[in-house]
């Protein structure tokens, strides 16, 4: 039985995992870099270990240091979250060697599916259709050029170890291929520590539909239906939902079976996701396996009622799956919006800095998974994801309305975020009609700017400004004066481990 878990991650996902552990009565160990001393996951965990300087390569990617921290804290398991070491087979193997449970797939399966090229070979053999492209890692740019000519432009450069859009480049003519391959290699190296890239045919405007799978260590496997993730910018998903408006029951069943078959072929265990591209004629192609907990896992949790992090921990503890395929149903509709520290009106430049004020939306069917608070300085070193806003409602239309209302209530002041941009996506007529594909953002939101402000708001704004001048007593918290620790994170939310009359 696992009674202490080290979380080898930061931000909202570390917070999410800590919360699941608490509910299961499992102690938690946070790790943090020098840039993250003030981060929320450090405050919420039972123990916290400094693992190195700010750059991820020196901290969150430092395998030896993390394993050492787990051993020193007597933690039996490591949860890698997503990104960083989550899909690193060497890390999983190191854990296995050191007798630490890696909460994810076994290292062989991880190696197979994490190597996008080998995964494609395996799936093709298992009878699952794959996207045309290279079936081995090229040794030179010349080899890429030759392959691109055979595949036919446009092609896409992909990081073999990759995910989350890192290292990807679309190339529509030969002149652009060399710089794209080089940039892809640099980005892949910095994000995953592995610079291998390869080429695939770039399908234009397909839908991105993925299936969540759970597999235990005894060969039992179920899928938890799909997530529609077509709304992407620079290959980074920004809005996800389930069910997909593009699937009917027959196609859903067919794709779900293919996803299970793919995971069986890979010898996969624990939670994982099989990504497909779906074309206009309902043909689907295997894209890749995401061998980790996905950023967008909450939408699946809301429509199936299954806590995926809890299931991951149970499977890692050696328990059998507690559900059969027939037990699983989709109920209602869920949508997730990813809140990034980026300026959507200025080419999505990353926007690090201090959050002067933060208030998350609340209400029926509203879930907020976040790693931020008022007064926190968003560091420049890591992925710009701040939080995820997820809503559930009885159907898609109601879910869209609920999301709009929740986004209206969402205040992050002091840095730029994508909140206004997300609101316009959710309210776009094509999105509301369910007609989404991976070209959606490029087609409708290429030169997005914030809409004109409501002149009706001028009076209350003036009134607020003047009132604030008249009542200097309210001037407690300037940007200069750093509020004390207690103010920065309300004790009422951090008293989770405190019990009346508890031992």
């Amino acid at each position: 039985m696992i009674n202490k878990i080290l979380i080898a991650n930061r931000g909202e996902i570390a917070v999410r995992i800590i919360k699941a552990c608490r509910e299961m009565g499992i102690a938690t160990v946070a790790v943090y870099s020098e840039a993250d001393r003030d981060s929320l996951h450090v405050q919420l965990a039972d123990e916290a270990v400094l693992i190195g300087p700010p750059p991820a390569t020196d901290s969150y990617l430092n395998m030896g240091r993390i394993v050492q921290a787990a051993q020193a804290a007597h933690s039996q398991a490591i949860h890698p979250g997503y990104g960083f070491l989550a899909e690193n087979a060497n890390f999983a193997r190191l854990c296995e060697k050191e007798g630490i449970i890696f909460i994810g797939p076994n290292s062989n399966a991880l190696e197979l599916v994490g190597d996008k090229v080998r995964a494609r070979q395996t799936m093709e053999k298992a009878g699952i259709s794959i996207i045309p492209g290279m079936k081995s890692i090229p040794k030179s740019v010349a080899e890429c050029e030759a392959a691109a000519r055979t595949i036919g432009y446009p092609v896409i450069v992909k990081a073999s170890a990759g995910g989350g859009g890192k290292g990807m480049r679309i190339v529509s003519e030969e002149n652009d291929l060399k710089p794209a391959v080089e940039a892809g290699m640099r980005e892949a190296k910095s994000a995953f520590g592995d610079e291998s890239v390869y080429l695939e045919k770039y399908l234009e405007e397909p839908r991105h539909v993925e299936f969540q799978v759970l597999a235990d260590n005894f060969g039992h496997i179920v899928h938890l239906f799909e997530r529609e993730c077509s709304i992407q910018r620079r290959h980074q998903k920004i809005v996800e939902e389930t069910p997909s408006p593009a699937l009917d029951d027959a196609l859903r069943a067919k794709m779900g079976e293919a996803a299970k078959k793919a995971m069986q072929a890979a010898g996969y265990n624990n939670a994982g996701t099989v990504e497909f591209l779906l074309d206009r004629n309902s043909n689907f192609y295997f894209l890749e396996v995401n061998a980790r907990l996905q950023v967008e896992h909450p939408v699946t949790e809301l429509v199936t009622g299954v806590d995926l992090v809890r299931q991951q921990i149970r499977i890692a503890s050696g328990e059998k799956l507690s559900m059969a395929q027939n037990d699983l149903r989709q109920r209602g509709h869920a949508i997730e919006c990813r809140i990034y520290a980026e300026d959507p009106a200025n080419n999505f430049l990353p926007s690090a800095g201090k959050i002067l004020f933060f208030k998350e939306p609340k209400g029926p069917g509203v879930r907020h998974d976040g790693g931020i608070y008022s007064g926190w300085d968003v560091p420049i070193y890591y992925d710009p994801i701040l939080a995820k806003l997820i809503v559930w409602a009885e159907n898609r239309d109601l879910a869209c309305r609920r999301m709009t209302s929740a986004l209206d209530d969402y205040a992050i002041i002091g840095i730029h975020t994508t909140i206004g941009f997300l609101k316009d996506i959710i309210n776009h007529p094509e999105f509301r009609a369910g007609r989404t594909n991976t070209g959606f953002i490029k087609r409708y939101f290429e030169s997005w700017g914030e809409k004109g402000k409501d002149p009706g708001m001028l009076r209350p704004v003036l009134a607020a400004a003047a009132f604030d001048e008249l009542n200097p007593a309210a001037h407690v918290q300037g940007a200069e004066s750093r509020p004390s620790r207690k103010e920065r994170f309300s004790p009422w939310q951090s008293l989770g481990k405190w019990r009346i009359g508890g031992i």
Binding site: Y410, G420, M457, A463, A465, Q477
Partner: protein, 168 residues
């Protein structure tokens, strides 16, 4: 009392008088009554002609940010704000030739050399922040006068990276 504000760079003058529990505002010839309560350090409840608003107000150095109905409004005092506004336009013209870091990050690559001619939209340098590479492009045709940074350097926003000059 009278106040002068720039709200999103637009000038407003407003006078305020107390009337019982409410405040009477006069602005541009029109007047309205507002009943305002301070709910917490950052939250005001405002009722104007029966309409209720919940405003969040944040004070940041020399400006206030009022957040209302999902939107942020920047409130500044005319002195400083007005200067910044005009200065801003001048800087833009000059700024075309002074290439600065758009955000804090790390310089990954310098793509040009001193003395090199560059086209409009040519990539001059790549700066990485939050794991994404951002290409810094030339906004006009010019010649690279001086390079003030090198690959690997950590830079703050607005740090001068490259100086360009127009071809003579």
């Amino acid at each position: 009392m009278e106040f002068e504000f720039l709200i999103d760079h637009i000038f407003h003058k407003v006078s305020v008088d107390k009337t019982g529990n409410a405040l009477l505002f006069k602005e541009a010839g029109a007047s309205f009554e507002a009943d305002i309560r301070s709910i917490s350090e950052n939250v005001l409840s405002i009722i104007i002609e029966g309409r209720s608003y919940s405003a969040t107000i944040v004070r940041d150095k020399d400006k206030k940010i009022v957040f209302l109905n999902g939107r942020s409004y920047i409130v500044e005092k005319p002195g400083e704000g007005a200067k910044a506004f005009h200065g801003g336009e001048e800087r833009t013209r000059e700024g075309q030739l002074r290439i600065t870091a758009p955000m804090p990050g790390r310089v990954i690559k310098i793509n040009v050399a001193e003395g090199e001619k560059v086209r409009k939209n040519q990539t001059l340098a790549i700066v990485e922040a939050m794991k994404m590479e951002n290409e810094i492009k030339a906004s006009c045709e010019a010649v690279v006068k001086k390079i003030h940074t090198s690959a690997g350097e950590l830079v703050d926003a607005e740090k001068l990276l490259i100086e360009l000059e127009l071809e003579k």
